[in-house]
Subunit: 776 residues, 2 copies
């Protein structure tokens, strides 16, 4: 069984219990604040239930066999909070459970335009009674604290129905942590503070035992039915239940709308949180189900007008790219100074942590389509600046050292060679900041957050690096993006990201002298940044005529790809770090990512040679790679290969290519698919804040188009086989370039330009068995 | 309060409760099989009680916040076994406890010639009754399973005395592990299997809960007193007690001898272990206390005749060097295919693990003085070869990868960058093997163990390294001796140790063709070893004209020594690894150790320049450094500095220079003091199996001499200000060289030769505040 192909929705027909866990991720609804995995209303069968609130976590001690100075002591893990999705049905005393009786038909549909998950199930109970259940649920983009479920039952004969609508806390779920202390911290993580029920409404409030965060969940209901019904409400510590018992005649329907309100806080009291979630409910009730649907659709209409990507030539790819855009939007839309986690709010993978993925892979999409979401994510980083400054100081550095992985901004990585040492994360934050400011011209943000982010991260590089008489400015002992290398000197990606960071900080100080003054940036400091940026070491192997991913990389032994069986991947589960680190095997784009983000630092010839060299050594045991490889493959002229990488990126979750989509969707890979289209086939670059295009369609497609917002200009780029059309829909005229030729496109008009033939690049190959995995 | 200076003993007068823990380490008695910390007989006050059996450990899970392939899962920790040292005294119902009443005098003496710990305490009870207690205890060098305590009380008036002699298991001691699971594993680690008592004898048998090792402890007693006494014996799970109640008249003495028998096994049954320890007791009883004393003295007379070092010019140094020799002997004398742990059996430090320290710092002393002990320690390594082969395979290598830290031979390091990556440990085993074989000509050992050790370690290097067209044979991604660097390429020490290992393996295959055939060593394999050794990369910085500790080391930033306060040391407790690793700060001799062990690979000028360069960057946060720095300082002509390093090495424990002697003595530092004298001032080298001397006395001393056994030749070297005398006591004539001049010394005769003036070396300095810490 698999998903149905459709350009605007994702549907799954029939029940496949074994696939439930990954479909729950695909069918997850979220607005960036609340996340509901796509579990069935009746709760079971289930894969991995999950209800998440962005930023709500439990803390646990991080264990070390041998500790060290500066090792983070506390870990954070996303908590499965009070589950309000549950609506149970009893059909004449038989609980609706798809594992029993017969499902005559069953379909679930995630609709990218309505922003809802619909379900239609025709079920025959073991004793032969038939009902049709139709549900639709949403997590509101417009009312941030609200989710709602519309539940409708139509019996095939006169029948008694009992519906139980629950709030359930401390749902028992299988614990997956190998550390008994972590498992213990997550078993019954919620301590009951308050429970109340009245009429059709109930509220439960809890707090976490160690992190001390408080949350409240509330539900209310409206019923659309004839009379002859009995309702009941009840609340205890970990359960609130609204029960409806009713006789429904054949041909009639029982309709129930369940409204959910969620809130959490580290500071507010239980009464305040209760008031907050009840207010959310009252707002939602006033809007009503149809009103919520309408707001949701209008929100998404605006999104698709700003962000849609059209693919002509492959319907599955069309569907998958919209699936990707929809989920990235869900992850970021209403985060509002909370992180965008690696899995969004679709699952408990990576403990719910945010990584550099957000800034480098997710934010470009948001910056150029829904910039408010990008701004909010960067405001979250800024809100954690105190922790980053403290961390840098603890590490003996200056400025801001952002964490490798975190929920609240404090470093949670228990393995420093691939955590703390990956200082590039701070440069990535700076990169996204500069990109956002250049794309939006958002001066308020720059004054309030952006300049400070750039300055404090530049200070980190100035402290981390040092001038060497021979080599210039060196940044030693760090870990770049490639997690199969660690603790290296002069990682090209890191150094070029640092170089950009330093230069952007200089520019920000010029634009925002008040901020610079407040942060006591001296002229000497600024000139030291310039000097360091100018002298930045970029190691190059003259014998091989390629850049070294980091100093000495190309002298390392080759990995024995021929001797590595398929079952040996991902390598990190089958080979020791020490051996991965010291060989020329690359987990994910590193130098290739540098050639994308800092393409201005490489010549075309270097790009082609480097790409060929690193392509042959990159195994993509990470989902953070295919999109970037697509971009560079397209740039150097390997359009077929680029398309294959687009497929891998865009089907990572739909085809579960990494076998772990059950734990949540790979946001960076989903966003990477957009990047593959826009920066790959669109050739969009924004070096130095100047946006340019060099579009080319892959042979497999007839046409593709995408939409971009740049400051107040909204425009689309349509790429045909031989020409590209730039159309400005609104805002000021567009000044850009097409394959190096400067163009101006007036508002309301379009410009069509021919596409020059692609260069003839050197042949490239991947390690044995590691060709792109996507398929159409 | 401090130790009394005396050439042949270590004495402490008076009671200093705050110093008890470190004096317990200094006063520890051991024969390499049993270790008894120097606690007072009455059990309290105490610092850190400890009774150890070599190789007897408990297992516990190693925790990881983020795990990885090949991470060791089980940790091992030495167990404080059943304590048989306890003899309690009640003086008319007042327990003898030095914290109460008054100590009129109190002295403890560790006698290096008798091999016993003596005590004399004159005590007045709180109610004014005086007794004099004299005790003497030994752990027998000649009867491996036996310890004994002679206990004598002389009252100052007629008095009733009650003596309780205990075997006490699961002694409650403060747990120091931060990991609750480790602490749990070590709380009451012994599970009772058997307890029996009869007459004056009792036996307790236990096993460990997780590692499943069994042990038995037994005691028996002889009493020398008038009648009018009542004795009683009793045994329960964790306690056996022999009680004597007696009236003693003024001027008379109560004399009790307590015999202890210890044994453990992973395989033998409880009855078998009981039989074993009872047999040990019967043997000891038959020998008797005076007999044990006599055997002990005879054993030590032979040791001192073979190993003594005489220092003329500083009595404290004379005492300290004998203290060092005595404790190294205790650690290794009767280990017999058990490891020599980093702390010997003097304390629970390092969890009782053995490291590379044994082979590189401890074994040279044993090899050239009591070679049987060195052989046994190498046989232990050989007995763990199966685990080392398995570990190498798990790591994707060939041959043998010996563990960084272990009790039973399985890797127990939970931090791979400073554990698994420190592959030099396998080269160190090979180094000690080759050194032992060359020094002794022990063909049996080479055939049974030595050749196999050399071959399997050579195989590791062949797998770990690779040939590079430009650089030759590279060994990348390893950690050398300096623990402030990690995961580096081409560490000079590692590469030169590997080079020697490869060459020694080639030679061993020639000498032992049968072994080579059994291990399926092909001609191609042997020639690959030679090729690799010949092409071994040794990185050198041409601009600075010094060797790079590892590739790129000299391009790293300098450590800010001026900005590092005294309280910042040891650096690893106050700065993060990432910052230590990427800067030119060195914990312990690394390149300098290479210049000692592989001095044949450096010119004199290189040694002088390298020494000056690395001296200025070495902080000695490790006890494994001073002895080696002494050796090189002496070689290049810094005799004063070499003497200062000798002082630091030799007083590491007596002056508690690292503040952790309570956890046990630093065996490598104690042995390093011998190396400072013999290889430093004696200039002894054994490159390529040829032993040479280049002696020079430091200005602070008038004369020094040391004794060496080389094959069957026993000789002494006496170094005066201007000349050196070589005297052969027995065995064949000595062929060696003196400052480069070949000499032959006939048996029974001596040769005196002038000492050429020392070279004028470049000035050297240490990092601020890190000058040698020893004092006289």
């Amino acid at each position: 069984m698999s998903y149905q192909t459709d350009p605007w929705q994702l549907a799954w027909r029939g029940l496949d219990v074994g696939s439930l866990d990954r479909t729950e991720s695909s069918f997850a609804l979220s607005n960036g604040h609340i996340g509901l995995r796509g579990t069935l209303e009746e709760g079971e069968p289930r894969g991995l239930p999950g209800t998440y609130l962005n930023g709500f976590y439990e803390e646990h001690q991080l264990p070390y066999g041998e500790g060290g100075y500066g090792y983070p002591e506390a870990g954070q893990t996303v908590v499965n909070v009070t589950d309000g999705k549950i609506v149970r049905l009893l059909v004449e005393d038989e609980p609706l459970d798809m594992r029993y009786g017969r499902a005559l038909s069953h379909e679930r549909v995630l609709d990218f335009r309505s922003g809802t998950l619909r379900r239609r199930t025709e079920w025959e109970s073991p004793t032969g009674r038939r009902v049709t259940v139709r549900t639709e649920r949403l997590v509101s983009f417009t009312q941030r604290a609200v989710a709602a479920i519309h539940y409708e039952i139509e019996p095939a004969e006169d029948i008694q129905l009992v519906v139980q609508s629950d709030l359930l806390a401390n749902e028992p779920i299988e614990q997956r942590s190998g550390d008994p202390r972590v498992a213990a911290a997550l078993e019954d993580p919620l301590v009951a503070d308050f429970a109340a029920a009245r009429g059709s409404r109930a509220v439960l409030a809890h707090h976490t035992r160690h992190s001390g965060l408080r949350m409240a969940a509330a539900m209310d209901h409206t019923l659309h039915t004839k009379d002859n019904l009995r309702t009941n409400i009840h609340a205890e510590d970990d359960l609130a239940r609204f029960t409806v018992a009713v006789d429904v005649r054949k041909g009639e329907r029982l309709r129930l709308t369940k409204y959910l309100g969620y809130g959490w806080s580290a500071n507010r009291s239980v009464p305040a949180l209760r008031a907050q979630v009840e207010a959310a409910l009252d707002g939602a009730l006033q809007t009503g189900w149809e009103g919520l649907l309408a707001e949701q659709r209008a929100f998404l209409d605006r999104f698709w007008a700003a962000a849609d990507v059209e693919i002509d030539g492959d319907e599955r790819v069309q569907q998958a790219i919209r699936f990707a855009l929809f989920h990235v939007l869900q992850a970021g839309a209403r985060g509002e100074t909370r992180a965008i986690a690696g899995k969004g709010l679709t699952g408990p993978g990576y403990d719910g942590h945010a990584f550099w993925d957000t800034e480098i892979f997710v934010l470009p999409l948001l910056t150029y389509t829904v910039p408010e979401a990008a701004r909010d994510a960067l405001r979250w980083r800024h809100s954690t600046l105190d922790k980053a400054l403290e961390r840098a100081q603890q590490l003996g550095q200056r400025g801001a050292a952002f964490p490798w992985r975190s929920i609240n901004g404090a470093e949670c990585s228990a393995y420093w060679p691939a955590g703390t040492a990956a200082f590039h994360v701070s440069g990535d934050v700076a990169y996204a900041t500069a990109q956002y400011v250049a794309a939006t011209g958002d001066e308020d943000f720059e004054r309030e957050c952006g300049a400070e982010l750039l300055i404090e991260t530049a200070r980190l590089w100035a402290a981390l690096g040092h001038h060497d008489p021979q080599d210039g400015f060196r940044i030693d002992g760090v870990t770049g993006p490639d997690e199969y290398s660690a603790i290296v000197d002069n990682n090209v990606y890191t150094n070029l990201i640092a170089q950009k960071n330093l230069r952007e900080a200089v520019a920000a100080c010029e634009r925002q002298p008040d901020v610079a003054r407040r942060l006591e940036v001296s002229d000497d400091e600024v000139s030291a940044w310039t000097t360091a940026a100018d002298a930045m070491t970029v190691p190059y192997d003259r014998a091989l005529d390629v850049h070294e991913q980091s100093e000495g990389f190309t002298a390392h032994a080759e990995w024995d790809f021929a001797g590595t069986p398929d079952s040996g991947y991902p390598l990190l589960l089958n080979y020791p770090y020490f051996d991965l680190y010291r060989k020329q095997v690359i987990k994910q784009a590193d130098l290739v990512l540098a050639m994308h983000l800092r393409g201005d630092a490489f010549s075309d010839e270097e790009k082609a040679r480097n790409f060929a060299y690193y392509e042959a050594r990159t195994v993509r045991d990470s989902s953070l790679s295919a999109g970037t490889q697509a971009v560079l493959a397209a740039e150097i002229g390997h359009l077929d290969l680029a398309y294959s990488y687009l497929l891998e990126a865009v089907f990572t979750d739909l085809d579960d290519l990494h076998g772990n989509s059950r734990n949540g969707l790979h946001m960076a890979s989903l966003a990477g698919a957009w990047t593959a289209v826009v920066a790959g086939f669109g050739g969009m670059r924004d070096h130095g804040g100047k946006v340019t295009f060099a579009p080319r369609t892959p042979p497999a497609l007839n046409r593709l188009s995408f939409r971009i917002r740049l400051r107040d200009t909204r425009f689309s780029v349509t790429v045909d086989r031989d020409s590209a059309t730039y159309r400005v829909d609104s805002g000021p005229p567009l000044h850009t370039s097409h394959h190096g030729e400067a163009i101006v496109v007036e508002t309301g008009s379009e410009v069509t330009l021919p596409i020059p033939p692609a260069p003839e690049p050197p042949k490239v190959s991947q390690p044995e068995g590691r060709a792109p995995r996507g398929r159409t």
